[in-house]
């Protein structure tokens, strides 16, 4: 199987919105290679005609009655927020100046 470079780990980290230090990238590249090498064993199993399982016990279309039930108040929902303002979550800017 493929070997995983430091650049690939950096790419994955960008996809996952995860800042990694240079030494973390180096370390993870080596470890991922090892782990992927081990888990790649799954490819030895002949499973072409086997359906995939995504959930241990398949359940479909679980509905409930459409009735009112108590929910969180705005204050309760905001109580654990890093920052709140005027009854809303305050977040850093989401659009750059060039946009």
């Amino acid at each position: 199987m493929s070997s995983i470079s430091r650049d690939e780990v950096a790419h994955l980290a960008r996809l996952a919105r995860l800042d990694l230090e240079p030494d973390e990238l180096e370390h993870l590249a080596g470890q991922l290679d090892q782990i992927i090498g081990a888990v790649a064993q799954v490819s030895e199993v002949a499973a072409d005609h086997i359906p995939p399982t995504s959930h241990a016990l398949p359940v479909t279309n679980v509905f409930r009655e459409d009735v009112l039930r108590p929910g969180l108040t705005a204050d309760a929902a905001l109580a654990g927020a890093p920052e709140a303002e005027d009854g809303r979550f305050r977040v850093p800017q989401i659009l750059g100046e060039e946009q």
């Binding site: 016990l57 309760a76 927020a81």
Partner: protein, 508 residues
């Protein structure tokens, strides 16, 4: 000094003493709080991340008031419990062992928490765990490791090491764990306690901070099989707030534990899984396991060998499926709505703050699994890794189905080895992952499984667990087998296995 008499009693005995008025619930809670104060602080056990002294005492006082008013009490009313810190509590912080949730107080109780409170169970506090329940040693907690009461230099298992250690250290008679790949059963095995992973969907996941949603299951941890059964029946049952919750009657686990305690397993067919043993298994583990199997035979069970050929591939499949789900579940920690936010200095945008916060807030194992999951799900690799792992998952379930057509329960050792020294495997993920070799198949297939103490390994004097696997909704079979084994071993040993654990030094 702690009142050793009270803290060493079972939950069943404590509930009876409280109901009869021999002791008050407040006295019982006080004794456990004193024990925690005496043995938990570093360099002690460190099972707890948070102790709620006031909340526990007032919950206990409410049980005493109810009794005084002549109101009926539930079977575990007034009994203290340690709650794994991955289950939300509206009156206590919930950290999941992560810096990213340090100090976070959830706005709601998990269904499990609500059921405990309704039953009059006294929540002492929140127990330590590997970050987001990812690990087998509790060393991945951002708040320092928990130590095994049998040997403070060794790991208590993980991820629910805090819950298991609190039982083994007599800090609580009951605890709640969660099990994604073995996090209830492996800590139970290495601490000489009882841990049950119910059938997937048997206990609500509402308010359980997700590790891998298709695998996570909360369950009871205790020192005796009957205590686990009593706790199981408190927390189990259908919950409309969890769409994967099973809408069927909860198996009568308490009756099964009573039946098992008579020590008669006549008519029970037990299958020893051929693939779960041999190379890589510690001699002392294999010896105790073989004796336990022989004992089940003496109690009347019919023992046969069963082959589950695809179990060999369960571990690699799990280490593709679990991180894939983890990478997706942990995306919710985005520094916007709850938890940590780092780097919001007015000049940085939301995405940059998110990147920085996640880099600072997550520990090494969380990062490893996020990257691994992102890789397994990325285009070009999806079919070869995640897709193929899902097919293997089907094959593992089919192995179980074929086996349960022949036998009522399957058995194996719970873990290949006893508790290892703290630090030994911390940067060797592959070695760490093999701890869950025997427990993972049941998470993939969703069936019920448990670990019961079956002795001490000769080479190191540390506890060994017998792993019992039952079919989906066959949870009661676990308790029948566990209770039969327990009564036979307790009479052979002249007491519970934990009586052989060294006394912990009380510091006050």
């Amino acid at each position: 000094m702690t009142d050793q008499g009270l803290v060493r009693r079972s939950a069943e005995e404590l509930a009876a003493s409280i109901a009869s008025g021999e002791v008050s619930a407040v006295e019982v809670t006080q004794a456990h709080l004193e024990r925690i104060a005496a043995v938990d602080a570093e360099p002690g056990v460190h099972a707890f991340l948070h102790v709620d002294q006031d909340g526990a005492l007032s919950a206990a006082a409410a049980v005493d008031a109810k009794r005084a008013a002549g109101e009926p009490l539930g079977p575990l009313a007034g009994v203290p419990l340690a709650l794994k810190d991955v289950i939300t509590t509206a009156d206590m912080p919930t950290t999941a062992g992560s810096r990213i949730l340090e100090g976070w107080q959830p706005p709601y109780d998990a269904t499990v928490t609500a059921k405990l409170r309704d039953a009059g169970i006294v929540i002492l506090g929140k127990t330590n765990l590997d970050e987001f329940a990812m690990g087998s040693s509790t060393e991945n907690s951002a708040f320092g490791p928990t130590r095994n009461p049998w040997d403070l230099n060794r790991i208590p298992g993980g991820s629910g090491g805090g819950s298991a250690a609190s039982l083994a250290a007599f800090e609580a008679p009951l605890a709640i764990g969660t099990d994604t790949g073995g996090s209830i059963r492996q800590p139970a095995a290495v601490t000489g306690t009882v841990g049950v992973k119910p059938t997937y969907g048997g206990v609500s996941r509402y308010g359980l901070i997700a590790c891998a949603s298709s695998l996570d299951q909360a369950g009871p941890c205790a020192r005796t099989v009957m205590d686990a059964a009593l706790l199981h029946s408190v927390i189990a049952g259908h919950d409309p707030l969890d769409s994967t919750s099973i809408d069927e009657a909860v198996p009568d686990v308490v009756a099964a534990a009573r039946q098992g305690a008579h020590g008669d397993l006549a008519g029970l067919r037990v299958g020893v899984v051929k693939e779960l043993g041999g190379d890589g298994y510690q001699a002392g583990v294999e010896a105790r396991f073989a004796e336990a199997v022989e004992l089940l035979g003496k109690l009347g069970a019919e023992v046969v060998e069963v082959s589950c050929p695809n179990f060999t591939y369960a571990l690699p499949a799990y280490y593709l499926i679990m991180p894939s789900e983890v990478s997706s579940n942990l995306a919710r920690f985005d520094a916007m709505r709850f938890g940590l936010r780092v780097g919001d200095d007015g000049s940085r945008g939301a995405e940059e703050v998110m990147n920085i916060t996640r880099g600072v807030g997550f520990g090494a194992e969380a990062k490893r699994r996020i990257i691994l999951g992102t890789y397994a799900l990325s285009s070009g690799y999806y079919d070869a890794y995640y897709g193929q792992a899902q097919k293997v998952r089907t094959l593992v379930s089919r192995d179980f189905e074929a086996a349960f057509a022949k036998v009522d329960v399957l058995v194996s050792p719970t873990t290949p080895t006893t508790a290892f020294p703290i630090g030994e495997k911390v940067d060797d993920p592959l070695a760490m992952y093999t701890n869950d070799l025997c427990t993972i198949p049941s998470n993939l297939a969703g069936n019920a499984s448990a670990s019961f103490p079956c002795g001490l390994a000769d080479e190191d004097g540390l506890p060994v667990g017998l792993h019992v696997m039952a079919p989906v909704l066959g949870d009661h079979r676990l308790y029948r087998v566990g209770a039969a084994l327990e009564q036979a071993l307790v009479s052979e040993w002249g007491g519970y296995l934990l009586n052989k654990a060294p006394e912990l030094e009380e510091r006050r």
